[in-house]
Amino acid sequence: MSGDAKPKPVASEPRKRRAIHSSIVRLTHWINAAAMVVMVTSGWQIYNASPIFDFKFPAWMTLGGWLAGAIASHFAAMWVLAINLLVYLVYGVVSGHFRRDLLPITPAGVWRDTRAALAFRLPHALGRYNAVQRLLYAGVIALIVLVVVSGLAVWKPVQFQTLTWLMGGFDSARVVHFFAMAGIVGFFLVHILLVMIVPRTLAPMIVGGTAPEATP
């Protein structure tokens, strides 16, 4: 070969495309999932010791064996849940993940996409959330923040008495904690159902995947 310069690659080298889910999102997602399972099932055992409402959770669904084991599990997993949540929230704000992937959430967009979803005409595009997804994901993040804050109010009604007051007092903080849990469990059921309906969304949450080119 003579000294011919190799043809320069012209736009054939793909730009570095971001993953559908970044490594921090994937890591915090699965740590949160594991911690949440421990928190919810041990929380049900704690609830059963003094039920707020006229029912108990079936014993086989609860964790800890008895009240002391459940409390110990709850107050161990809470560190995992809370630190993981903090990492995710800081990352979400600093990296632009929230702004880019969860916002904006407009009533018109949610209304449009809800109707489309109910008619089974809503596209489930990888790497880009529709308005209903944005609402649900932002909602469950808010619920996890609420469950942590109300949990602190129940745990430390004297040291964190301002929080407990904000929750309407100790007994009311327990009720808030319960309904935040119920909302998270409700989200979880819908979330699992949708992953079963659209199974190709699961792999990217494990290995990352590759997001499609941003549409203009």
Binding site: V38, A49, S50, G64, G69, A72, F75, W79, V158, Q161
Partner: protein, 252 residues
């Protein structure tokens, strides 16, 4: 001791149900999932590792709570209209088995790191300055109830018996076999009292006659009833429920 296995003693009030083998295995499996996220190198095969991890976290939580504890922060107080009636009974035995302590023969024994180990009669305790409080008792089970207690401020009593102010714990032994202990900071909290009265009269038998510990800054089970002996110590005093797995500090 196994934290995630209910104690085998009869528990009239807490009624932890015995778990069958199948459920135990499920619990172990799902607990390990949580333990895995908490600990690296946790041996999931060794049966006791989950207990060990949970106990280590509980001791860590003791330290965090001691750090969070503000000696000057007061628990909310209530009015007589807020008092819960009837006030719930709770113990590790049924109401009928609450001990009948003879008030005339009663002597509070004082020991440990104190300069004056004289024992105290009910009359002598009543002759000390009395303080009253209407506060919320929060049970580890989750229920809560507002009651009125009055008695001797523990901090003032510790001063009177010449307690070592640098000692770490105040421990209690009770007429019903119960025992517990608290950190010195909580012992000196202004709302921590050796209660002699409940609802304006002497403590009824089932609520801890003749004297109980009352502090709104800790869960109900830390508020020992029928106190027969008090000691100041630097040795971790444990407690009846605490030794079965409940968190020792259990601060509110």
């Amino acid at each position: 001791m196994s934290l995630i296995r209910p104690p085998r003693s009869s528990l009239d009030d807490l009624k932890p149900e015995l778990v069958d083998l199948e459920r135990r295995l499920f619990l172990r499996g799902s607990l390990s999932l949580g333990a895995l996220t908490m600990l690296t190198g946790c041996n999931l095969v060794e049966g006791n590792s989950v207990d060990k991890a949970l106990l280590a976290m509980s001791r860590w939580n003791d330290k965090v709570q001691a750090w969070l504890f503000d000696p000057n922060k007061l628990a909310q107080t209530y009015t007589r209209a807020d008092i819960t009636t009837p006030f719930p009974f709770n113990a590790y035995y049924g109401k009928s088995r609450a001990p009948a302590v003879d008030g005339a023969a009663y002597r509070l024994e004082v020991s440990g790191l104190v300069s004056d180990r004289k024992s105290w009669t009910v009359e002598e305790l009543r002759a000390l300055p009395q303080e009253s409080q209407i506060t919320r008792l929060i049970c580890v089970e989750g229920w809560s109830a507002v009651g009125e207690w009055s008695g001797v401020r523990l901090g003032a009593f510790l001063d009177r018996i010449g307690a070592d102010s640098r000692a770490r714990y105040v421990g209690f032994k009770c007429a019903d076999g119960y025992y517990s202990g608290i950190d010195m900071a909580t012992a000196r909290h202004p709302q921590t009292i050796l209660a002699l009265d409940f609802g304006g009269g002497a403590l009824p038998r089932e609520y801890g006659y003749p004297m109980r510990l009352r502090m709104p800054t800790k869960l109900g089970f830390k508020n020992a009833k029928h106190i027969a002996a008090l000691f100041v110590t630097n040795d971790y005093p444990g407690g009846y429920w605490e030794d079965k797995g409940y968190n020792w500090f259990s601060g509110s």
